[in-house]
Amino acid sequence: MKLLDKIIAPVDKALERFDPVKKSEKGTGGLRDRYYDKTGVAKWREWRGVKDTMVDYAAWLNNILAMGQMVASAPIPILKGFWEYRWMGSYLGTFMFIDRLFEGFRGPELKIAHMNMHAIVQSLTKRIAFALKNDARFGGGPDTLNIIPYDETISPLWLMGFKGLYPFPMQTLPEFIICDIDQHIEPYYIDVAESFGLPADVCSRCAAETGVAIDDAFVKAGRVMLSTNMPCNASESTSMFQRRRIGLPDFAVTLAMQHNKPEALPYSRATLEAGIKFVEEHYGVKYDWNEFFKYARLINEQNTIELEKWEYFKTPYSALCGIAETLYRLYEWQSVNGAEPHFNRNDRKVIKIMRKCYEEKHQPFGGKTRHRAFLWGPSSVYYCDFPTWIQNCWGINIVLNMDSTMGYNMINTDDPDKAMDDLTKLEEKATMRHHAVGGWDNYNAVWDWAKRFNCDMVLMNDNIACNGTLGFHALMEEQARDLGFHFIFVEHDLQDSRTISRQEMRNCVNKYMSVVLNETPLDPTLVEFDDADAY
């Protein structure tokens, strides 16, 4: 490789003038130069040097291949899906989405980012094909009645003990992931819900889910549905709407909110056990602990590797950072949770690269990071590449975020009784609810996390309709001041980019960085630009 590096070095030097990162260093341009205004459509692909451009192209091809396989595996249902579901069309923006996520990424951080993203693409494409093949709206398939539709904020591990059944997160395809890709898709569903009478001041994510339900845009399959009280009030409320519209027998998986208290565990455990019984009764399938242990081993491995990753996150030498960490951890934990072995294979490869980078003291982004930030609160879904922007523009590396701290306890893999306790603890600490519910101590934990990961800054995602965050607004600011953290509230409306645009979110940071910290941007082309019409 070193010889190859020597060969391509002069080429890289000669073509440096096309590299936006180098251009911003020289003050001759930057990452935003290659875009048509407003649209988010690039005039040309990002030149990253010969090697990294090839890595990027190879990843692009790899993702195309996965999508091709998806279409080939179920061509008619996929076509019908495009016809039936408005959200299907938005998946065509996937490539633009991935390009946007990894702007400015080079070297190992680019490689890891694409490995993680490809794992997600593989999983999602298979999931879309499987769902549409078995969608009762299109006549159903062999597994239509073997699917267990569940609320996506439940982690699927506990359902993996049902051999021959397929847990399926209902909201992930039409609502959660697709809003990451296309900021314009969920406002449609939000409008559907609001046309039905829902006030506009509730959480936009849950309003969107309600709209999807009213619009009959959920994939139709399964014999029952599992709703949940995770992670917040609006989520609980929309579940009641969905249950009624979907019309399947339902079981509400209501776990303890105050999950750190000793009395919580028996209750949450009893609820999960009742849920297992409910599925057994409706599907006629007995829960198989050996099957469960198989997947529990996989999540244990994932969490073991995750904990090792955290050790690298604490240093300046982590090649996994920003959105490549955030999105992957969220998807791997919440949506996969041990159910897809290829994530383990990916983790093993990634951790090897991370170890090597740490040994070589490789600093990501050319060592241009100025601040290390912990991201707290529910992230804006319509601005998935915000961590990328904040690194490229201001040199703020988002080391870890609230949702990455989800359950990381190990699950016993030979004793069902002990395993049930471990599983309950894992489930109780699912997305958001680990810190957003259960009172002050859980929410106030941000400072300990930030300190553990050597952060000097906390970015507080301020979803303007999140009662949990709003209720502690001033106390968070006072805590930041008392504990000596740089602290920025980043206002957003979770899934409705019309209320607070991406630029308005950026301005929250711009103002703090320029007015309070008196810093200059790394890439001035990224400070003010209009991407309101972009995917």
Binding site: S227, N229, S239, Q258, N467
Partner: protein, 395 residues
């Protein structure tokens, strides 16, 4: 109708959280125990030596300081309570028994121990994790929560007798109060009731915010008075409605509806008598505490319950009230920024209008009644539509 003897006295009692009866009870050495939500059984806060005080923030016109802590985008009820606490309006409290029944309530109650607004050395806060389903698993959890977060702190921190005998005595007293309020409330079923919705709202509220021992004689006297009270010659309202929703603790809101022409014949909201005035029946083989938990979980109509049984119960209960109280329609209210009631209001109005064919009006309001012009217009239009239906024979 002739004015009720104690109505003005009751109205005055509602002007401040710390009213003269609260002062009397405190002077007698009783502990004042605050709560915000039906999930905290009032009866457990009325054990010997204690009295319950459901928190209101009467005459609250500005929430500037609470807005700083919780932003002005959060529930105005919660903000108003916090504002009143910071103003010193709850310094009489010895404890607050909170419930994480919604995120805002949790945050508001957390401020009671984080910024110490209540200037009372004895004061402490606990918060229960309230159940979200009506099944046996959730009943057990409810019992654990109330034991750990209510009974044990009462015993350990205030030395209150929480024995079964003490709870039985509290239940008996509670039932006596409930009987009186229920009897008064049932008068609203009559075609031409000798009481207005506003008057009942005032009576129900004083029963929640005053020490029971001290308010009960007044309530009993009022009941006797009502039994012989001559109603208006002709029913003075154009329609009868059931009011459903969240924290309606301002009788002027009921008055607003009634001045628009509809009598509020049943009150199914958080400060209302449905639920809150159901008697507790201790069954054979169960302790008084178990009976309290079972009764409160059974009757709880909170919009946060997620299981099908409880969701259906919410709607069935409203329909029952419509039938029993001869209502022509329903008004669903939700406090601004309240997610649970925002969703419930939309779902329920759809069910009532399209499936159960009961006219339903939905409104959103602030905690403090300020500009009421828009609400008045909504109510007038709704009442007019009810009248037209009556003229057309219900078509």
């Amino acid at each position: 109708m002739k004015d009720l003897k104690h109505l003005i006295y009751f109205e005055n009692l509602l002007q401040d959280a710390q009213n003269e009866l609260v002062d009397q009870a405190k002077a007698a050495g009783q502990y004042a125990l605050g709560y915000n939500c039906y999930y905290i059984p009032e009866v457990l806060l009325n054990l010997p030596g204690c009295f319950s005080s459901r928190l209101r923030a009467p005459r609250c016109t500005s929430t500037d300081i609470a807005g700083y802590y919780m932003t002005n985008r959060s529930c105005p009820y919660a903000r108003s309570i916090l504002e009143r606490a910071i103003e010193g309006g709850y310094n009489y409290l010895d404890a607050l028994f909170g419930a994480e029944s919604c995120a805002t309530m949790d945050r508001m109650e957390s401020h009671f121990f984080l910024i110490n607004p209540v200037k009372n050395d004895r004061f402490f806060v606990t918060q229960v994790d309230p159940p979200m389903k009506g099944d046996s698993i959730n009943l057990e959890y409810y019992k654990v929560q109330l034991r750990v977060k209510v009974l044990e702190p009462l015993k350990e921190r205030l030395g209150v007798d929480v024995s079964d005998e003490a709870i039985r005595t509290a239940v008996e007293k509670h039932n006596r109060l409930c009987r009186v309020i229920t009897e008064i409330g049932s008068l609203r079923k009559l075609p031409n009731p000798p009481i207005t919705g506003y008057e009942f709202h005032v009576i129900q509220l004083v029963s929640q915010v005053c020490p029971h021992d001290l308010i009960l004689p007044y309530l009993e006297e009022t009941l006797e008075e009502l039994k012989t009270r001559e109603p208006e010659e002709k029913f003075p309202f154009r329609a009868r409605v059931v009011l459903v929703g969240s924290e309606v603790d301002d009788p002027d809101f009921t008055k607003l509806i009634e001045t628009c022409g509809a009598m509020v014949v049943a009150d199914r909201y958080c400060f209302g008598s449905f639920p809150s005035r159901e008697q507790i029946e201790i069954q054979e083989g169960e302790t008084a505490f178990e009976a309290v938990c079972r009764t409160y979980l059974k009757w709880n109509q909170c919009a946060r319950f997620m299981d099908g049984g409880k969701i259906d119960q919410r709607h069935d209960e409203v329909e029952r009230l419509v039938k029993e109280f001869g209502a022509d329609g329903i008004i669903y209210e939700n406090m601004k920024f309240c997610e649970f009631w925002s969703y419930e209001k939309v779902l329920a109005s759809n069910i009532f209008i399209n499936e159960r064919h009961i006219p339903t009006c939905t409104i959103e309001k602030e905690y403090a009644l300020g500009a009421v012009g828009q609400l008045r217009t909504r109510f007038q239009a709704f009442i007019e539509s009810l009248e037209i239906k009556q003229i057309q024979g219900g078509k």
